[in-house]
């Protein structure tokens, strides 16, 4: 057992865990951040996706000992207060979910994609998101949601630019 320091959603945490414990287990069991989901345990379905220093990572195959000092963002840290992140808004508007179990991971992956590529083509969305599984089959709606979020983000940054 080691004492591991983590920064999750901007908050510092100290947990006692084996360094090889998965980040997903630590988030869910130690920190009670259950928005990140277990789906496969081998990084194949994306339900556990979180951002580590802004990059989408599968927390089920990330050892918690390997990421101290780094910035971890989970679905719980995405909205600012009651203000949803544009990707969250877009998922709601596009009804891009059925059971919603994949939704956290989908949203986190989409946020990472849009940070890297603010105006992705449809083919780029599909390629980037292909590691995230939605068993209910809402893929087309997820693609539209991401496109919509991209438009909103582009428009708002353009508006900000114009205001300067």
């Amino acid at each position: 057992m080691s004492t591991i320091r983590l920064t999750v959603n901007g908050r510092p945490y100290t947990v006692d865990a084996e360094p090889k414990t998965s980040l997903l287990t630590v988030l869910r069991e130690h920190l009670d951040l259950t928005g990140s989901k277990y789906g496969c345990g081998e990084g194949q379905c994306g339900a556990c996706t979180v951002l580590i220093d802004g990059k989408a990572q599968r927390s089920c195959v990330t050892q918690v000992g390997s990421i101290s000092q780094r910035q971890i963002t989970t679905i719980e840290g995405l909205a600012s207060g009651e203000q949803l992140h544009p990707v969250q808004e877009a998922f709601l508007d596009a009804e891009a979910m059925q059971c919603g179990y994949c939704t956290s991971g989908m949203i986190m992956s989409a946020v990472a994609l849009l940070q890297r590529n603010p105006a992705p083509k449809e083919s780029e969305i599909i390629a980037f998101m292909d590691g995230n599984v939605c068993r209910c089959g809402t893929y087309p709606r997820i693609v539209s949601a991401i496109q919509k979020a991209a438009k909103v983000a582009t428009a708002s940054s353009a508006a900000k630019g114009a205001g300067r």
Binding site: C40, L84, C136
Partner: protein, 720 residues
Amino acid sequence: MSNRNQAQILLEPERYELTAAAPYRFDLDRREFFKFLGAGVLVVSILKSAVVAQESGGASQRRGDSLPKEIDAWLHIGENRKITVYTGKVEMGQNIRTSLSQAVAEELQVPIEKIEMVMGDTQLTPFDMGTFGSRTTPTMNLQLRKVAAAAREMLIGLAAAQWQTDRQKLVAADGKVTDPQNNRSLDYAALTKGQQLTQIVTVGTSLIPATSWKVAGQSAIKVDGRDFVTGRHRYPSDQKLPDMLYGKVCRPTSFNATLVSVETQKAKQMGATVVHDGNFVGVAAASTELAAAAIAAIHAEWKSEPQPSSKELFDYLRKNTVEGKDSTGDGDRFDLGSVDQALGSADHRLQQTYTVSYIAHTPLEPRAALAKWDGDNLTVWTGTQRPFGVRGQLAEAFRISEDRVRVLMPDTGSGYGGKHTGETAIEAARLARAAKRPVKVGWTREEEFTWAYFRPAGVIDVSSGVRSDGTITAWEFHNYNSGSAGIRSYYEIPNQHIVFHATNSPLRQGSYRALAATANHFARESHMDEMAHVVKMDPLEFRLKNLKDERLRAVFEAAAKQFGWGKTKTPGQGFGMGGGYEKLGNIATFAEVGVDRKSGEVKVVRVVSAFECGAIVNPDNLRNQIEGSNVQGLGGALFEAIEFENGKILNGKMSQYRVPRFSDVPVLETVLLDRKDLPSAGAGECPMVGLAPAIANAIFDASGVRLRSLPLVPDGLKQS
């Protein structure tokens, strides 16, 4: 066929899991036994015997729904103006929390956000057999509409009495009863004054006709959608209680194995609670890691007999029928005219065999349960489509009366027919009883792939006779093992012999979205194309020539129009169709595929679905269900198959079992036919059944290769 517009109340024989025995039977605690005897609650039920049989998954599987009719069991209007609706139905992604809210909002004339749905809690909600078979919309939606309408009428009556005026002059709208002539109104809460409304719902309660719907019939955003996009919603696997332990079960090395010996000393030394009770060995510990380590430290020896493997599956099914078992119901066989004679005199005869593999539901949330004992009372939170069924299983496993068991179902991470049983609930409860603390058991993906049940595999033999002018004269159809849902033909054929043969399945099997309708439509609609080819007719023309049902003709015609049936194709391109009706819905699916004969790659490029299920309740959610059916159906059609050998699953991991992903999805186009004059039916299953034959027929159209096994191209299209 005459009853096709009535809500279906029979249970199909392939719902094997509903009649299976509890997976464990524990030794009875003597003290508990006598405690119960003393308390006088050993004899269980106050329910009618038929209901008990359904509820516990007991002997009878052919009973209908039994819906309590008293309004106070279903709906409550609080003084805070909150409307609370109680239903035993559960939400797992089909979005009925929203669509049922819409129905109530419409009839009660209140804004949708005023309605709270309490669902799937065996203590608070009335008995419900389970959420399956696309029955929520035709039964529960209608039932709740009646309940809400009766409440509305009663509130109007209360206001009329209070104001001593004619009720005809009063209007219910926006949560109030208004008297427009005298310019006065009272809101519902003020009228009810918190008292319990005990009104019996009558047949004559007038419902608002679909043509006048304002809330129902419109797209509505998921009522609690915000909780899902923020990660706030707590699924069964997210449930937590103070002092909770994490449980794990020691799994046998193969199916049908018995425990020979077990050594648990090391696990105990690690601080885990260890339970060894019959064939059950499990642990509970302070963390998942510790529980996993304790399980790894247990040395268990299992023995089992040799078992069949997927390589020999179809031969095995044919040779292991159990005639008489489950094959006596009306749905399981059908005879008309004389097939032998008609086959003898047909211009063309065709005989083919079609097969489908076992597939796994793979709900993204694996089974999970949290169990807690308070003395002899058990509470379990679990993801199940049948909370009352799981309550019965728990009562049976622990030999306690059902009134000591409460099962709650937080909205769960999908089911698709795969979460009808209570394995995890029983495991968690057994461990919690030993640990004297709450215990959560969450299955790993590998456990879900191995210890859940599968969609039945099947072999289907079809023999047909057809005249040169394209009239089908004979139809013989034998389904081995996969099931009888959708087994009857909707084509007009004077001579038919249709039989479902139950078999001794080598794997545990049970309900899967659309049941055997997927297999039966695949065989029937593939065979239709093969017959059309024999008589050199266009497949659409051939179908319509043999089809009288107007609703089904309408969807075929609508889909053909949207698809552009008859257009010319380029090399490697192929078009195909499949359709039918199931669970009161009508579907026609047209598919375009691209086949690369060099690489063998098959890509489904475009899918057009035309669907009609009576009056549409929520068009956007309906589209979502149809799209989802098609995307999920792609897996079973193209590449999903469980491989097994001698009692072991060979591909029980997400990395080994391919499910549809973003890059597999074709362009999906949906045509909705809204029949406001017909009762609303469900849509979670039917839209799936046309897809596999449409793709198979399109592959034939593109390549000349006829594929008769699902999945069609797990390794691409092989050279023939």
